[in-house]
Amino acid sequence: MNSLAVTDSLLLLVTIMIAAGAKYPPSLRLSAGIFAAAALLGVLRFTDLLPLPQMHAFFSSLGATAAYPLLAAGFIWSGSVLAQRWRFASIFFVIAGASGLIASALEFALWGNLVALLSVAALATHAIIVKDIQVASGAAALLVALILFASKAALPPYLQAGDFLHVFMALGLMLLSRRGAVSSGVT
């Protein structure tokens, strides 16, 4: 078993807890559900139990192009129907996912990274503006995760770039979920 399997298991645990938590808004649960699917496929892949690299790549790409924007939008407009209703969170997810697939078909490889980065940056900016420390720290952790992964940071032979992504994502989502649980009310 390599380090990626361990850190992906950590991410899986956190995302499943959020996705299954009825106290969280649908936008957060749906985003976490997609991240959980990607993490589960990662665990299966890195433990060699059932390696499905293409499907893992697909869900990771879906996470970047659709789950990150949904997560950010759900916090920025926390009282909106987008954050609070499954129906609108799902529509947003499908449209964002479709745009990711089109970008993928057009071989615009940077799209996923760009969308994820912009979403998290927007979330961090919003949190700073509204002085929400918890969301800001969650967004900062996600930002660190993306930057370390994109820059291929590693601590050989112990940690790979993917490990940083998994650990900081888990941390960021955990921080965000603590804030997500308390926001409610549809406008």
Partner: protein, 362 residues
């Protein structure tokens, strides 16, 4: 002159028209009035026009599917194994359920699908009344099949099977089919889908299997004691194939334009079709709509009927020519042909509708 290639979708055109004629003859023999001449002619013309447009649109769907399958296709499938095809058909139909449900429950997708429901009749010609604008969103729902690695040729074939299966369920001549009603989409449970009676709204979305409706609680049985009224609550009153595709888009943009904030503007596109700014999404009951305004359909002048028939036969002939030779055409030429067809239908459809209205005024 480009070379003519006989493809399966070309063969489908005369078969469907023959089916309409057979149902018409049978209905006369059974002394049932299930056809209105001009309504059916319009349905067929809408179907022909949609084929001109979707012949290019379907290429986009198949292209997206093929690319995603190539990039992310996870499993290898044995095409000689019948289970591959059965699995693909069942999974396709499951995704079709969601495409169809989205087409009814999200306003901007309903704007496309409404075309199929705009006939006041329910017969085989209604099955041909397909939207020309739906291809832009449907493809995304079938991507899970691509990720599973189901080959594009299997996807196309099961898609065609799913589509063709749905033709025969558009009839009033077949009654309930016993135990079949529990598993498959049948004429009886599809009549409910096309009804505008209150109990019919947002029911029976299945394509081949009605199991999905039973699982997701959208199934309704046909009620013998309450005859089904077909069509839209707010009638189209037009013989124009282009307008039948665009009228709801125009209405939706107009409604959005009237809203004074962005939230409500967006809700006009993404909420349920019956959404109103006061927050309600429940459809208005049928009793609030006039029931005796089918005067438009009953007073069509003979000249319009004859020109409608001529246009249908001529455009069907042109469609067969187009489908057979489009492989040799450039993308630009294909778009030009499709645009010409749409413009012709728009002009003739306008003349038919105006002629009918003039007749009513006289």
């Amino acid at each position: 002159m480009p070379e003519f290639v006989l493809t399966p979708n070309i063969l489908v055109v005369p078969i469907l028209i023959i089916l309409v004629i057979v149902e018409l003859v049978l209905s006369r023999l059974m002394k049932r009035s299930v056809y209105n001449f001009q309504d059916s002619i319009t349905s067929i013309n809408i179907g022909i026009m949609s084929q001109f447009v979707n012949a290019t649109g379907a290429v986009i769907s198949a292209f997206m599917y093929a690319v995603i399958e190539l990039q992310y296709g996870t499993f290898e499938w044995d095409l000689t194994n019948p289970l591959t095809w059965i699995f693909a058909l069942v999974f396709y139909d499951f995704m079709y359920y969601w495409v169809h449900r989205t087409g009814h429950e999200v306003n901007m997708f309903w704007a496309s699908h409404i075309t199929h429901h705009s006939s006041d009749e329910f017969n085989f010609s209604t099955a041909l009344r397909q939207a020309s604008t739906g291809f832009y969103f449907k493809w995304v729902f079938y991507m899970p099949l691509a990720v599973l690695g189901i080959p594009v040729q299997v996807f196309v074939v099961v898609g065609l099977i799913d589509l063709l299966y749905q033709v025969w369920v558009h009839t009033q001549l077949v009654g309930r089919l016993g135990w079949v009603e529990y598993v498959l989409v049948t004429p009886s449970n599809h009549r409910v889908h096309h009804g505008k009676n209150d109990y019919c709204i947002d029911k029976n979305y299945g394509g081949v299997f009605c199991t999905w409706d039973r699982i997701f609680d959208t199934y309704a049985d046909e009620r013998v004691e309450e005859p089904i009224v077909y069509g839209l609550k707010k009638k189209l009153h037009s013989w124009n194939p282009v307008w039948s595709n665009l009228h709801y888009w125009a209405e939706m943009f107009k409604k959005a334009g009237k809203q004074d904030n962005w939230r409500n503007k967006l809700m006009c596109f993404f909420a349920k079709p019956a959404w109103s700014p006061d927050g309600s999404s429940a459809p208005k009951p049928l009793s609030e709509f006039p029931t005796t305004d089918d005067y438009f359909a009953s007073r069509t002048p003979v000249a319009i009927k004859l020109s409608g028939l001529a246009m249908t036969l001529f455009s069907a002939f042109l469609l067969v020519l187009y489908l057979g030779s489009k492989q040799a055409m450039s993308a630009g030429l294909q778009i030009f042909c499709a645009t010409t067809a749409v413009c012709t239908f728009a002009l003739i459809g306008y003349l038919w509708t105006q002629g009918n209205k003039k007749e009513l005024q006289q």
